[in-house]
Amino acid sequence: MLKLSNVEVKYADVILVLRGVSLEIAKGTIVSLLGSNGAGKTTTLKAISGLLHTELGEVTAGTIEYEGYRIDAMDPEQIAKMGIIQVMEGRRVLEHLTVEENLRLGGYIRSRDNIKKDLDMVYDYFPKLRSLRNSTSGYLSGGEQQMVVMGRAMMAHPKIMLLDEPSMGLAPLIVEEIFEIIRKFNTEEKSSILIVEQNARTALGASEYAYVLENGRVVLDGPSSKLADNEDIKEFYLGLSKIGEKKSYRDVKHYKRRKRWL
């Protein structure tokens, strides 16, 4: 459905962020993209959604294909209309608008007749938002704002939803709730979902397939359950030692051991 082949991204013509990323998302699956800070996860999402063009970034090599069309040179508005909606990192609510106004704008590209039905759908996924519908979104709590931006993306009935760090800065219970809703949305609406996460355990638990990104390259990929058993993933992303037990600080050397992937 969506296929990235050897995508290279440069910012401002000089900063090379992605050095040939290839990944694939099949219809109706949840895929997670893991990696540490600066690995190029967000850039990958923005390359797909086209938002790169608003930040002086450009796909300089490779192709991004969506249902047979090349989308790497398209405007973000066009790509969104084709059904790829990105939920940006950092809970970007339109802060002076109410919850419902935010959601309405999410459905702006759809026909107006469906808006009531779509609002009801989002309120069914996030019952809390129904009671908050008339509050100013800027004053909501972090978890509630995350629900608003995800609900806003759902309003567009995306074929692929790109979620950038939905768990950032949220309490574990709320993270669990949000991932449950992601899974539910995936099975009920048949939308594919690409999740970028630092929280590897949760992301691997929710997804079917996963890619690990480091320094702008995919260094490892495979079914999530298999990756969760991988020794290196355990050590570097899940904080477990080889035997699968919690790592003791005594074993950690005073310098940081880094794994060379390639």
Partner: protein
């Protein structure tokens, strides 16, 4: 008593027009954070275009009104498309500089075509007068007041209840966020400029028919700036109230202290309001969560 009453009435009349022009500032500032210094000259151009359709072409009043407002919309769209569209993402100061000098270009254009002398007066409202106590209220002023307020009200309702209005408020909050939802920011900004051009034209027609069609009409743009700031640059309602306040204060001060003091008093109020309420009375305060 009658004296102050007549001052209040004339103040409110002028104020409504200031408010309407200030609304043009708000429309553009809200969605693009650009203060359009050429708003007053868009008003001038609109007034002259109306005059052209009404007098030079001899169209009937309603047709001329309709055409002038239509052309005003196109002028706004054209200005955005040709100049500001190319400056998206550039420093704000360069956009603002463009609007300042754009105003001189428009003025040059107008005086090149129609000359720099006042044009033949055309009255679009009836000449009847009403008496309230001892003060005289002309039907012309009353209609002008009504038309300005109706236009303003229509715009406020448009902002609040239509999908396009909602999208404009959304664009004001974050361009990238809107793009991620598939909403074209360029298109929305373009329409905002069109509507601002329309509002300016309506203001120009009202003002031209009361003050005469002359180049000095553009000065009102200067007085609409304090109106917009006092109301808070993001609030259409605030712009109208700010306009009425500036109109009142200008007319009362010039009545009691002297004509020369009227305009400076309006700016003095602006300074005082800015010191105590930097966001104006209805401006959006940045939401900081703690």
């Amino acid at each position: 008593m009658d004296f102050i009453l007549s001052l209040i009435i004339s103040g409110l009349m002028n104020g409504a027009i200031y408010g309407l022009v200030a609304l043009g500032f708000v429309l553009i500032y809200k969605s693009s954070s650009v203060l359009n210094f050429s708003q007053g000259h868009m008003l001038l151009l609109g007034a002259y275009i109306f005059w052209f359709f009404r007098t030079a072409m001899g169209f009937n009043l309603y047709l001329a009104l309709f055409l002038a407002v239509g052309v005003g919309f196109l002028v706004g769209i054209l200005i955005e498309r040709l100049t500001l569209r190319r400056l998206i993402g550039q420093p704000l100061i360069s956009m603002i500089t463009v609007t300042i000098f754009l105003s001189l270009v428009i003025e040059g254009f107008v005086s090149l075509i129609w000359g720099s002398y006042p044009l033949q007066h055309i009255a679009i409202f009836s000449n009847r007068c009403f008496n309230i106590g001892n003060c005289v209220l002309t039907a012309q002023n009353l209609y002008a007041f009504g038309l300005a307020l109706t236009t303003a009200l229509a715009l406020i309702l448009f902002f609040r209840y239509t999908n396009l209005g909602l999208a404009m408020r959304g664009v004001a909050e974050g361009h990238q966020t809107m793009q991620s939802m598939g909403i074209s920011v360029k298109k929305i900004l373009n329409i905002s400029w069109g509507i601002a051009g329309m509002a300016a034209t309506i203001g120009g027609i009202i003002l031209g028919s009361t003050l005469g069609f002359q180049l000095g009409l553009s000065h009102i743009g200067l007085l609409a700036i304090p109106a917009a700031f006092i109301g808070g640059l993001e609030s259409p309602e605030g712009a109208i109230l700010g306009g009425l306040l500036i109109g009142l204060c200008e007319s009362i001060v010039s009545g009691y202290i002297g004509n020369a003091a009227g305009v400076p008093a309006a700016f003095l109020i602006l300074i005082v309001v800015m010191i105590f309420k930097p966001y104006g009375f209805f401006g959006l305060v940045k939401i900081e969560r703690v």
